[in-house]
């Protein structure tokens, strides 16, 4: 190991990185854009549900129910007099859901025999279910207001959203975005840079110098590490100050976790490119094995415990789930030693594993290059 050579290689990498606009875009612009998209655009909070209420007659309770919905920030209410209009409205996407209030509402209510129909557009089932739940909630509270509470048994249901009091999706989206950005910089960018050197024939000339494989791998990682951490810091700052996400755990621990995840992704990227030696293949493979799983199998977008068991098992081999678990906990709950140690431990082990294979696969030989006589 020779530090002078590592420095020379790292300086070269830095210059190339700075002169290549794509790296800058991936490192700096991408995290910002992703955070804005996920923070503002892709939030799963329910607002402005277009609700059609079909009521054939006017009654005081009916009017109270309707005004409850109208007052709520969650609903845009349209009143309709017949079922047919409501169906058309749903078909034309003028309504997401329909609430049918029965005739003789007043009487049914007094008899405690009230059947109201809630129909939702369930072409996206999870959105449909959420709409249904919101509508039910408002409906129940509207009706309860009319009941003489003293005549009811003393049952109260109260709910609290722990760690995410406002049920704000930015809270869990933002840690997820950090995972994706770091997977991208760590794995894809590193893999592409290395494969490019093989493709352009730089590697062949580099091999015939006193440089060792380990020196090359270290130099490759230094700059992308810095770039990745800049991305993470940007994401943390935006999370805290733009989206108001609480950071309850320690910043140092977050950065330590980021470091381990980034090292893991970079070593995996180096492994991919050392094996494929092609930019095209590296790009596709890192997309499939790092980027997509970070999205889909990490628990960032879809809750792992609600996945089918075989898929749940698969998630264990992708590092994303450990990092998401670590991030969401450290962000929203605080420093939980068991969670930190478990997740970071697994990721550290994976890093060493990949790094070692990458080193073996990079033996300063061209044997696996195939024929080119």
């Amino acid at each position: 190991m020779n530090f002078r050579r590592i420095r020379a290689l790292a300086v070269k990498e830095r210059k190339q990185l700075l002169r290549e606009p794509a790296s800058f875009v991936i490192g700096i612009v991408l995290p910002i854009v992703m955070l804005l998209i996920f923070g503002y655009g892709m939030n799963t909070d329910v607002r402005g549900i277009k609700l059609a209420i079909v009521s054939h007659e006017s009654s005081s309770i009916g009017d109270q129910v309707i005004s409850r919905f109208q007052d709520s920030e969650f609903f845009d209410v349209t009143l309709m007099r017949n079922t047919h209009d409501a169906e058309i409205a749903v078909q034309k996407h003028n309504a997401d859901a329909v609430l049918f209030l029965p005739d003789n509402l007043q009487k049914h209510f007094a008899d405690r025999d009230l059947n109201a129909l809630v129909a939702v557009n369930a072409s996206n089932p999870s959105v449909g279910q959420m709409h249904e739940a919101y509508i039910k909630g408002v409906l129940m509270s509207a009706l309860q207001g009319n009941v003489d509470t003293s005549s009811l048994p003393g049952v109260r249901v109260q709910s609290r959203m722990w760690f995410n009091d406002k049920n704000d999706s930015a809270y869990y989206m933002i840690p997820g975005v950090i995972v994706i950005v770091m997977a991208m910089i760590g794995c894809m960018l590193t893999a592409l840079q290395m494969a490019k050197e093989y493709e352009h024939g730089n590697m062949e000339q580099m091999f015939v110098t006193p440089m060792t494989s380990a020196e090359l791998l270290i130099a490759k990682m230094i700059n992308n590490y810095i770039l990745g951490m800049i991305g993470m810091v940007i994401a943390l700052l935006m999370a805290r100050f733009l989206f108001g996400v609480p950071i309850r755990g320690s910043i140092l621990i977050l950065l330590l976790g980021g470091t381990i995840f980034l090292l893991l992704q970079m070593s995996f990227g180096l492994l991919i490119s050392s094996v494929t030696k092609s930019q095209f293949l590296s790009c596709i493979i890192s997309m499939l094995t790092s980027f997509m799983p970070s999205f889909l199998l990490s628990g960032f977008l879809y809750e792992i415990s609600s996945m089918p068991v075989p898929i749940q098992i698969i998630t264990y081999i992708f590092p994303g789930r450990y990092f998401v678990d670590f991030l969401q906990t450290t962000f929203l709950v605080g420093n939980v030693p068991e969670i930190i140690i478990k997740n970071l431990g697994i990721m550290s082990f994976m890093t060493l594993f990949f790094l070692n294979i990458a080193r073996i696969k990079n033996p300063k030989k061209l044997e696996s290059q195939g024929i080119s006589v």
């Binding site: 020379a8 290689l9 024939g201 730089n202 015939v208 110098t209 006193p210 300063k364 030989k365 006589v373």
Partner: protein, 514 residues
């Protein structure tokens, strides 16, 4: 044997799918200190494999090799720290400057900081690159890149230089310059240079040659060893003829047109005031050409002279900035579909589908040109017969030898009976036998009335051209028949230069004038 590079019975196979290719088949040689040794041979002869084994990048299957007494397998690291190696693909970083590229290699070789500056200056001076140390490597011309790559390989002042085809795709002037530099180094430092090339004529610059063909050494020793055998049948044979004699056992007769170009032949390609600008840089500056039916038209020039750009505009691959190209009276840019139907194109890089068989490639290109089923059958039959592909019909294209690939490329380009055939450095890297065969077919096509437009770096191929154009800095600097060009390229009163000297003279005269 006491050579500083030694090879003993080296064998190296590569597995290509189910087939095994014997890249090197029993190579033994010894190279002495202080010599420039040329490793000559066509593409696929095994040159790169041999150099990579010597550089410790590949492990031979059998036999042993050593450099400066270090074993190429066990002591690869030691070899790599003492030799200079320049692979065929540039090992340069295109977005680093000349200076930064050199600095990187200097640091990797741990050249003491205080010696670096003088070393850089010395090398840049030697390479004649001192004018722009801060230009990025990507912005250099082909010849300059090769010189910079050489400078990087020379950083550590190595005793042995292994160079893999440093002159491929480089014009004759840069080639001479490069070999001039090598000669200086060898004279001054008594270093040893082992340099591979597919241009037989570069043997002239070497003290000794090793000629490889299909993984075996067919000639080794002084450069005359290549032509010794040919001398028995001909006085003053060329190096190409020597090679032909060694491989085929005979020197083929010189090629001649059977039907000379008629002076009244109609013009089929007309380029008027062609201009191509890339940003502020004018690559092609108001060029005019006329190519007639049955004419062999050669486009020559130094690297960066604009010949490739001109060529690409003439066959419709690049848009013109201004000016026009007419193919058989059709404007290539307004009636491009119809005009392109009249063009056949063979690219420099093999561009057929490697994983399809010969027959499938022909079928595909026939269909792509819109030939009817019956017509396609007829033309494919013709092509297979004409290009002697009968034995290869069902072979995957990727596995074919270079010469056969080239024949197939030509066959595909001719399926739709084009009136004009464009060939972009189609003979680059081919051995003399393949080139001879190739030109026999070209002249045959021209006899039948096809206009052939060709670019080449082989100066001897100029002899086959009816008309030649030499380009420099985007302009035509000489135009005419070979004899006319030779006259233009000969100083007043001197005996008539051969075509190579004439070319060099024309280019250099313009360079000093500007």
């Amino acid at each position: 044997m006491d050579g500083i590079i030694l090879c003993k019975d080296i064998k190296k196979d590569f597995n290509l799918g189910k087939e095994t290719v014997h890249a090197l088949n029993g190579i033994s040689l010894s190279i002495n200190k202080g010599r420039i040794v040329g490793l000559l041979g066509p593409d696929g002869a095994g040159k790169t494999t041999l150099l990579r084994i010597l550089a410790g990048l590949l492990i031979p299957d059998e036999g042993s090799a050593s450099v400066l007494g270090y074993d190429c397998v066990r002591n690869a690291e030691s070899i790599q720290s003492v030799i200079g190696y320049m692979p065929q693909k540039f090992g340069l970083y295109e977005n680093l400057t000349l200076h930064e590229n050199m600095k990187l290699y200097a640091e990797l070789h741990q050249i003491p900081l205080q010696n670096q500056k003088s070393r850089f200056d010395e090398l840049l001076e030697m390479m004649n690159l001192s004018r722009f140390p801060n230009r990025r490597a990507g912005k250099l011309s082909g010849g300059m890149k090769q010189k910079l790559a050489l400078a990087c390989a020379l950083i550590s002042d190595p005793d042995i230089l292994l160079l893999d085809e440093p002159t491929v795709g480089v014009d004759i002037i840069s080639r001479r310059e490069l070999f001039g530099i090598l000669r200086k180094i060898v004279d001054k430092r008594k270093s040893t240079v082992f340099v591979s090339t597919s241009y037989m004529d570069e043997a002239d610059y070497c003290d000794e040659i090793v000629v490889l063909y299909q993984g075996q050494i067919i000639a080794n020793g002084a450069k005359d060893s290549l032509i010794e055998k040919a001398k028995t049948v001909k006085s003053n044979p060329t190096l190409d003829e020597g090679f032909q004699m060694l491989i085929a056992g005979a020197i083929p007769l010189p090629l001649k047109r059977k039907v000379p170009l008629s002076p009244e032949a109609e013009v089929v390609v007309k380029a008027t005031n062609l201009v191509k600008r890339f940003g502020t840089f004018t690559a092609v500056d108001h060029t005019n050409f006329e190519v007639r039916r049955g004419e062999v038209f050669g486009l020559l020039g130094a690297n960066g002279a604009g010949k490739t750009t001109t060529f690409r505009m003439m066959c419709g691959l690049d848009a013109v900035t201004s000016g026009s190209v007419e193919i058989c009276g059709l404007n290539l840019h307004t009636a491009s579909g119809k005009a392109r139907q009249k063009i056949g194109f063979v690219a420099q890089k093999f561009s057929l589908y490697a994983d399809m068989t010969v027959k499938e490639n022909l079928e595909f290109f026939g269909a792509a040109y819109g030939l009817s089923r019956a017509k396609r059958k007829e033309r494919i039959h013709w092509a297979i017969h004409e290009f002697a592909l009968e034995n290869y019909q069902n072979a995957p294209t990727g596995d074919l030898p270079l010469g056969i690939k080239q024949r197939l490329s030509m066959a595909c380009a001719l399926l739709h009976e084009p009136e004009i055939l464009f060939l972009d450095e189609a003979t680059s890297g081919a051995d003399p036998l393949t080139r001879y065969d190739f030109w026999r077919r070209i002249l045959d096509l021209a006899d039948k009335g096809v206009a052939v437009i060709i670019t080449t770096h082989f100066m001897d191929e100029a002899d086959y051209c009816d008309h030649m154009v030499i380009m420099q800095d985007g302009k035509t600097v000489a135009s005419g028949s070979v004899t006319e060009i030779r006259r233009q390229g000969t100083p007043k009163g001197a005996p008539l230069n051969d075509i190579t000297e004439a070319f060099v003279h024309i280019i250099q005269k313009k360079e000093t004038a500007s």
